[in-house]
Symmetry: C2
Amino acid sequence: MHGDNDAGQGSAGRGAAARLRIAVRSVADRVAAELRLQLAEGILLPGARLTESTIAEELGVSRNTVREAFAELASERLVVRHPNRGVFVASLVAGDIHDVYTVRRAIEVSAIRGGGTREAVAAVRAAVEEGKLAAAADDEEGLGSANQHFHGAIVALAGSPRLNAIMSQVLAEMRLFFHKATVDAHFYRGYLDDNEETHDPL
Amino acid sequence: MHGDNDAGQGSAGRGAAARLRIAVRSVADRVAAELRLQLAEGILLPGARLTESTIAEELGVSRNTVREAFAELASERLVVRHPNRGVFVASLVAGDIHDVYTVRRAIEVSAIRGGGTREAVAAVRAAVEEGKLAAAADDEEGLGSANQHFHGAIVALAGSPRLNAIMSQVLAEMRLFFHKATVDAHFYRGYLDDNEETHDPL
DNA sequence: GATCGAAGAATTGTTGAACAATTGGCAAAA
DNA sequence: TTTTGCCAATTGTTCAACAATTCTTCGATC
């Protein structure tokens, strides 16, 4: 009874699947993506609790699927699991932030050393321009976006899939941090100088 | 009926749980740990297929739990998921290996720059000694182990939890690679020199 | 009134069964 | 031989159940 399918529908279905193959991943992945988005947009604030059943209901998926999505996000450090208590949006303390910057610096310094293809270098310059424009227009949002592109481009210089992956996690953690309504400006300033030093060699 | 628990057993159970709290994690985590072990020991060879139901039966857990373990391992790149086809032990091609070394180098160079506490430096020296002893005794196994300790200690110099985490993943990937029965010795040699250069500054 | 502890409620961790969707192999047809 | 279509096996996902654990609330005791 369950191996029962008619040829007509089969071929039609295959066509649709092929068209979407690249875009459509598993449901768990899409749930993770949705949550990642809400995290980045500050809809879910650090420290907030994510209840399995609630999210399962909201997104119309099963608790089990939500669980898989949580595992994904936890491995990215965007949420933390407290055994038997639940998962919470990660809230970064000063030490964590310092640590994130340590990682970013390690990756970027190494990537810059490596040189990079002409296109990769061009991408960096483009991101810098993007940032200047946003800064001139006082566009907070755009500046943040340009910042992400800049750091992504820097790491892409190395042409290393793993470094890229690590960097995108780092950037995700930083987004989490920056959306925490008010950031201690002084604390942040210190790191800005650090950034400048990092990419000066270019 | 399901909220039914007697006080006596409750207190006894709590004692046992408290004793094991640190060691015993979730079942999914233990499954992942077991698989990680089999991966490191070369029981599961690169390219091998891991069937959910088989492993579930072997370890006496549910398929769903195995699934969670797979997610964990996949995020560590120890296995790869082919959608709708299954998970396979990751098999690293030349490019991957190069990439792993790129990451390792980036992390280690940065960690060495940072200096490190006296204890951390001592740990590095200890690992070097361990390696020398193993080499003198022609102890392949011990040499591999010493190598792991060495690189772990190097990164620990930075005192960064995130760098440590990244490094342990890198080491796990390397273990996967080294257990692939026969490794092209020449290819490997090239990287050995690289290692030497990396830690020479010490 | 404050503290402590014990039911009770809520939530997580795990299981087992079910079924749709997809894949790969194999046999029959062209 | 190549292609087509079916079958078997496996994955992806859901649902329902229950045990274990944590959180809450409510008295009882001091």
